[in-house]
C-alpha cells in the first residue's frame, strides 16, 4: 500500500460512513461490485450543476444553455481521457446495460450490406462468466437474426479456458462480447489472445468493463478493443449514467438505437440524416447532472491515481484471501491466488445458505451481496445456488476484512455449523 493512500482519510469524503447500521455497528460496505458509495465531491458537482448551470444542453441561446453544454461536454472529455479515447467516441447512456443494448440493437438494425449485419449462421461469442447484462442482449440478438451464440467455458479455478479460442472465434464470427473482470469470481480475463483471434476474422470486440474500469487503469488503444461499456454508479458516480465507447470509424457507420431529438443532422417529414457520433447515439435531453457527477467521480479517482487504487485493492485482496484460507467450512469460489484477479471474493459456507450468511453479516454492519449475482448460468455451471460476495473499493481497509471474517465466524456459531 502506498503511504499516501489512506482509506480512513478517503472515508471522510463519504457521508454515508457516518450512518449507524443494524446492531449499532459502523458500516462495513463490501458490496462495491453492485454499486459504490458516493463522495461529497460527486454530490456537490451534481447539486452545483442544478443550482448554477441547469438548462437543456445543445439547445437554447441563453447563458445557462451555454454553461450546461460546456459542463456536459467537459464531462465527456474527462471520460475520454480516462479511457485514452477521443471525445467523439464517448457516448453517455443511462447505464452499461443500455450501452450493450444500444450496440445489440444497432447491429440488429444494420442494412444487410453493413459489416455489423448478422445473418443466420453468423456467430456471436460470449463467455460463461458473463453478467446477464452482457449475455441476454446478445442471446436475444442471436434469436432475432438467426445468428449462433457460442461461449468460452471456465475451468475449475474460474479462469477462462482459451484452449479452443481459434475454434470458437471462426470466420463466421461477427461479435465477441466479453467481460473484463467477472462480477462473481473476480477473474480478470486475458484479452490479448481473444482480441487477436477476433480481429483475425474481422469480428469486433465488445468489452464489459463494469468491474474493471472503476478499479484499474484502462487504455482502449492499448487493449485494441472496438467497444467498451461501463457505468458511473460503480465508479463513485451517480446512478442513471453510463458510457458506451466505440472506435469513431465504427460509430459513424452504425445505425442508432434510440431516435428522436438531438441525434439528427437534418430531418424532413419523411426522412432523416443521422448526426455523427456521439450525438447520433444520444437522443433526447441526456442525464446532464449525472454526467457532470460522473466526471467528478473520475476526477476523484484520478486524484488518487488508478495505479494506487489497483495496488490498494490488490493488497487488500491478498490479505482477505489469506484470512479466508484460514477459515474452516468456507470455500472461496473462483481464483484462490491473487494473480489476474480483482478485489471480488465470492464464497460459500457449509450448511448456511448465502442469504442467511448475508443476514447475519448485516447484523454486524457488513453489507455484502448474496445470491446468483445476475449470473445464473455461471451458478449452474459451478453447481451452486449462489454465493456470498464481498467486493472491495478505495475506502475499505484491513479492519473491514477483519470485521467480515469475524462476522462469518459468528454466522457459523449462529447456525451451529
Amino acid at each position: 500500500m502506498t503511504p499516501t493512500f489512506s482509506p480512513a482519510e478517503i472515508r471522510k469524503d463519504f457521508p454515508i460512513f457516518s450512518k449507524t447500521m443494524r446492531g449499532g455497528n459502523r458500516l462495513v460496505y463490501l458490496d462495491n461490485g453492485a454499486t459504490s458509495q458516493k463522495p461529497r465531491q460527486v454530490l456537490d458537482a451534481e447539486r452545483n450543476f442544478y443550482e448554477q448551470h441547469n438548462a437543456a444542453v445543445h439547445r437554447g441561446a441563453h447563458l445557462l444553455a451555454e454553461e450546461a453544454s460546456i459542463a456536459y461536454e467537459d464531462s465527456r472529455g474527462v471520460l475520454a481521457k480516462f479511457l485514452n479515447a477521443n471525445d467523439d467516441e464517448v457516448i453517455f447512456t443511462k447505464s452499461a446495460t443500455e450501452s450493450i443494448n444500444a450496440l445489440a440493437y444497432s447491429f440488429g438494425n444494420s442494412a444487410p450490406s453493413s459489416r455489423f449485419a448478422l445473418k443466420p449462421g453468423d456467430r456471436i461469442v460470449v463467455s460463461e462468466l458473463e453478467h446477464h447484462a452482457n449475455l441476454i442482449p446478445w442471446q436475444q440478438l442471436a434469436k432475432r437474426t438467426g445468428a449462433e451464440l457460442v461461449w468460452f467455458s471456465i475451468d475449475g479455478d474460474g479462469r477462462l479456458d482459451l484452449s479452443n479460442a481459434a475454434d470458437l472465434i471462426n470466420e463466421k464470427t461477427k461479435i465477441v462480447a466479453i467481460t473484463h473482470q467477472s462480477n462473481v469470481l473476480g477473474t480478470i480475463v486475458p484479452l490479448d489472445e481473444i482480441v487477436k483471434c477476433a480481429h483475425n476474422v474481422g469480428a469486433v470486440v465488445v468489452l464489459d468493463a463494469c468491474q474493471s474500469a472503476p478499479h484499474f487503469a484502462i487504455d482502449v488503444k492499448k487493449l485494441d478493443i472496438d467497444f467498451l461499456v461501463f457505468s458511473g454508479h460503480k465508479a463513485l458516480g451517480p446512478t442513471g449514467i453510463g458510457i458506451l465507447w466505440g472506435r469513431s470509424e465504427f460509430l459513424n457507420q452504425m445505425e442508432p438505437f434510440l431516435t428522436g431529438g438531438s441525434m439528427i443532422e437534418s430531418a424532413t417529414m419523411t426522412d432523416t440524416k443521422w448526426a455523427p457520433s456521439p450525438k447520433r447515439f444520444e437522443a433526447g435531453v441526456p442525464n446532464m447532472a449525472q454526467a457532470v457527477g460522473f466526471a467528478a467521480a473520475i476526477t476523484y479517482l484520478n486524484r488518487l491515481g488508478m495505479d494506487n487504487v489497483a495496488n490498494h485493492e490488490r493488497d487488500l485482496t491478498s490479505y482477505a484471501l489469506k484470512k479466508f484460507a484460514e477459515l474452516r467450512g468456507v470455500e472461496v469460489i473462483g481464483p484462490k491466488n491473487n494473480k489476474d484477479r480483482g478485489s471480488v471474493i465470492s464464497f460459500t459456507m457449509d450448511g448456511i445458505h448465502p442469504h442467511d450468511v448475508g443476514q447475519v453479516l448485516d447484523q454486524y454492519g457488513v453489507a455484502v451481496r448474496t445470491g446468483h449475482h445476475c449470473a445464473w448460468p455461471l451458478m449452474k455451471k459451478l453447481g451452486i445456488v449462489g454465493t456470498t460476495r464481498a467486493s472491495f473499493y478505495i475506502y475499505n481497509d484491513e479492519a473491514d476484512v477483519d470485521v467480515l471474517i469475524d462476522s462469518v465466524e459468528q454466522a457459523q456459531k449462529y447456525f451451529k455449523v
Binding site: 445458505h353 442469504h355 442467511d356 447484523q363 445470491g371 449462529y414
Partner: protein
C-alpha cells in the same frame, strides 16, 4: 439480538428437518416457483380431491427462511378443506405485510407465527412467501 426475531428456533428446526420434502408420485397439480432475484426455487405437488387437500409435498433449494416456511406451509395445509387452506394462505400473506405490527393467529397459522419477525425484513418476505404462493398456485390449478 435483532436476528433472533428472524431466526426463531422453530424455523431453524424446520430448516434442518423439513417436513414433506419428498415429491409424491401422484398429484392433482405440480408447480415450480422461483424467486428470480435470489435464485430460490421449489417444486411443489398437491393432491386435492373433492375440495380436500389430501397431500402436499415439495423439493427445493433456498435459504433457511424459504425452506422452513415451505415446510410449515405444507404441513399446515394437509387435511384442510381447500377453502380453509386458501384462507390460511391469505392470513399468512397478511402477516407478512404487517411490517412487524402483528404476531399472527397461532390457532390458524400454528408454527407459521414463528415467521412473524420476517415481516420486519422487507428483503426476506418473498423468501417466506415462496412456498405459500406455490401452494396457492397449485390449488388454483387443481380446481380446473
Amino acid at each position: 439480538m435483532e436476528l433472533d426475531s428472524l431466526y426463531q428456533e422453530v424455523i431453524l428446526d424446520h430448516y434442518r428437518h423439513p417436513l414433506h420434502k419428498k415429491l409424491s408420485a401422484d398429484f392433482s397439480a405440480q408447480v415450480h416457483h422461483v424467486n428470480p432475484s435470489c435464485g430460490d426455487e421449489i417444486t411443489l405437488n398437491v393432491m386435492i380431491k373433492n375440495g380436500l387437500v389430501e397431500n402436499v409435498s415439495w423439493e427445493g433449494v433456498g435459504c433457511s427462511i424459504s425452506q422452513a416456511s415451505t415446510s410449515i406451509a405444507a404441513d399446515l395445509m394437509i387435511g384442510k378443506s381447500l377453502k380453509q387452506a386458501l384462507t390460511t394462505v391469505d392470513s399468512f400473506s397478511q402477516l407478512m405485510s404487517s411490517k412487524g405490527t402483528e404476531a399472527g393467529d397461532e390457532e390458524v397459522l400454528e408454527d407459521g407465527v414463528a415467521l412473524a419477525g420476517v415481516s420486519k425484513f422487507p428483503a426476506r418476505i418473498k423468501c417466506a412467501l415462496l412456498g405459500w404462493m406455490a401452494f396457492k398456485d397449485a390449488a388454483i390449478q387443481s380446481k380446473v
